[in-house]
Symmetry: C2
Subunit: 416 residues, 2 copies
């Protein structure tokens, strides 16, 4: 059963978590002076509107009409009750997923890409540089830049660049220029941290260029809150009050923040981050100030981190391989408001296949992590007989990740 909202029920303001945190967020620090950064420090990289959102104390921030006009191409996204999966599991739980895979780029990433492209264009920027790991963020930004006539330069983690030619083609279809990273070392498979260094270096060198990040930062999570705001309204349509648990995969934290933050003040709702055991930032990292990139060019952020020189093993869930995590998500985990679990990759593909075979949708490997946790919650509810209401974010489709499914089916997957 799908629950759709009419187009005029698309949220018109973003939900800002900052003024609602139990403990205020610690400020980002300048990489050189280690003093708190101010708006001017960030101005070479971001438009002032986004810098303002990064630090805003306003509980709600209006979504510009120009952004809404494009979001309406696919929003509001459906909320779906996974009844065939429930039956297959024999669970009394009711499982809902918010389907962000219907966006142009095939994932939630497009929500913030459009907003970021808009604010940059509004402040006279004509070119944006960024990095991409698995490729979902680069695709989303390429689409968004095309809508606002901006040039888009994407530094793609080299191992992804080599393994995922389709992602590159998709970015090029929307007019982006894509190069493998690290640019300076063609023998390195690269990492997201290295690609961030490349993209930041590009932006600081050119006056016409800003940098854009697809996760981690406060304004990115802010833009993603349309997911949870819609889901909350759609659950009411479905006859529910609140979910018992909200689940999402977590790499940098943007889709998790998007679906979970609008529930942060609902005390009965458990919030669960799901990460891969091969990159266990929240479950095994330490909370500290660390750089967002490998080269140490970005401000220091207060977050759970595995160290900015962490090199994750080459696994397929490329979008979840970041060494750090969103400061907001880190804050919620540190204060106990949010839980975090880690799964080995084999378990997540098993869950993704179960979902594809019952619900007919082929998930991105990242999304498979949320499905695994949702299934385990549903199986626990079967043991206890509890009619638990489970909501998870279906963050993206897996049509461009089929080689990973092939590896899983043929036992070639690193089960880390």
């Amino acid at each position: 059963m799908r629950y759709t909202l009419p187009e005029d029920r698309i949220p018109t303001a973003w939900f800002n978590a900052l003024p609602r945190l139990q403990e205020p967020l610690m400020p980002p620090l300048h990489p050189g002076t280690r003093e708190p950064v101010g708006p001017d420090d960030l101005a070479p990289l971001f438009p002032m509107a986004l810098i303002g959102q990064e630090m805003s104390g306003d509980p709600w921030i209006d979504i510009p009409g120009e952004v809404l006009e494009i979001l309406r191409l696919w929003r509001p996204t459906p909320l779906v009750r996974a009844e065939r999966l429930e039956k297959f599991l024999g669970t009394p739980a009711r499982i809902y997923f918010k389907d962000e895979s219907v966006s142009p780029a095939g994932s939630h990433k497009t929500n913030t890409a459009v907003a970021q492209a808009f604010y940059n264009q509004a402040e006279g920027i004509t070119r944006i540089s960024t990095e991409t790991g698995a490729g979902q963020w680069g695709t989303a930004l390429a689409f968004a830049c095309r809508q606002f006539d901006l040039e888009c330069k994407v530094y793609m983690v080299r191992s992804s660049y080599d393994q995922k030619p389709y992602r590159k083609i998709m970015m090029e279809t929307w007019g982006a220029s894509v190069v493998p990273s690290p640019v300076a070392d063609p023998s390195s498979p690269g990492s997201l941290g290295m690609a961030i260094s490349d993209a930041v270096a590009d932006a600081v060198q050119r006056a016409d260029t800003h940098y854009s990040l697809g996760s981690v930062l406060n304004h990115v999570l802010l833009h993603q809150t349309v997911i949870g705001l819609e889901a909350k309204e759609q659950l009411v349509l479905a006859g529910e009050t609140l979910p018992d648990v909200v689940i999402a995969p977590c790499g940098g934290g943007s889709n998790l923040g998007g679906i979970a933050l609008p529930f942060m003040q609902d005390a009965t709702v458990r919030l669960v981050a799901v990460e891969p055991m091969s990159c266990p930032t929240l479950t095994e990292g330490s909370f500290e100030y660390d750089f967002g990139d490998t080269a140490g060019m970005t401000p220091l952020l207060p977050m759970y981190s595995l160290g900015h020189d962490f090199m994750p093993p080459e696994i397929h869930a490329g979008g979840l391989r970041y060494h750090g995590d969103s400061p907001i998500i880190s804050n919620l985990v540190k204060t106990g408001r949010m839980e975090a679990v880690a799964y080995p990759q084999g378990k997540t593909f098993e869950a993704a296949m179960m979902f594809a075979n019952t619900e007919g949708k082929l998930p991105a490997p990242e999304t498979g992590h949320a499905i695994r946790a949702a299934i385990d919650e549903a199986l626990a509810a079967k043991e206890t007989g509890e009619e638990k209401v489970i909501l998870f974010d279906y963050s993206g489709h897996g049509f461009l990740d089929l080689s990973a499914y092939d590896d899983f089916m043929h036992g070639r997957l690193l089960d880390a």
Copy 2:
């Protein structure tokens, strides 16, 4: 603007074109005797329920509840007004598309796959053989067979098998077994006609196995009429009465039949088939009795054909490379009720890119043909100032066809 129907407005009966044709359909002939075939001749290949539908004179045929239960995973599909494309073209025309890309397999093919799997299982069949060209049909049948616990064996045209590994993996994810065709000649790139021969030979050899075809036959077009029936209702939601023109790509004719047949008795509505110039069945073929396959094992069908030994050039719009065409579609073209146009491939990719850049959806190359024709209709309306209402079938997404986009962008596409 998207127009969605609630789930309880999914059609509960299929629209049967057979009793509504101006000239009755000529019967299929036995490949040996050249006498009209009866139900018993077809029994080794198809369940009796489908044979009955193939020849039925009933104007409406009920959709079984078991089929509806699965169709509801993605139906009713959205009708979308392509306002950003309209603006880009500066046309007074209103362009609507019916989005069949949202199905599990990513195209309209799933509509009939589910029905065929159901009727086969209901009559005790445990295994189905089929062929696939571009891979969309094989993917759809693999999904459907998994829903009814049927084994699925897919003979995939060898050139596609080699060029589209992702399609094969997707079929395997749903449990199908996929082999390249022709089985007997590994040096041949294959053709849809050859793969049909392989699949039919498989089915006649085994009592537990039936054959399944994804296009051409009457019952296949019948199952696809949910597309047009929903679209008709959604156009009313959008404030329209009837469209001026209904457009779809045409290979074997199933998505075209699906969207166009429910409008066949609305005399003011033009119906337009769009095919590639490299396989111009309707525009340059001759109307005759011909075999559906290369080896001459299938009944002879009254249809436009390029000859059952026609070998299309290797182009990317794999789904439109069939030598023949649906008898119903052929009948409509022959009697003048339906028009047919052919486009060179470059023009269709140009249109597909224009669509991706304005509407944000990346179409299958087959779908690009309909988009090309819709754009040309809209540009003609711009010349005349006519507020034409254009409806086309967005038959599938292009996420598994990105190498063709790459070839187009880099000038490597055979523009035939």
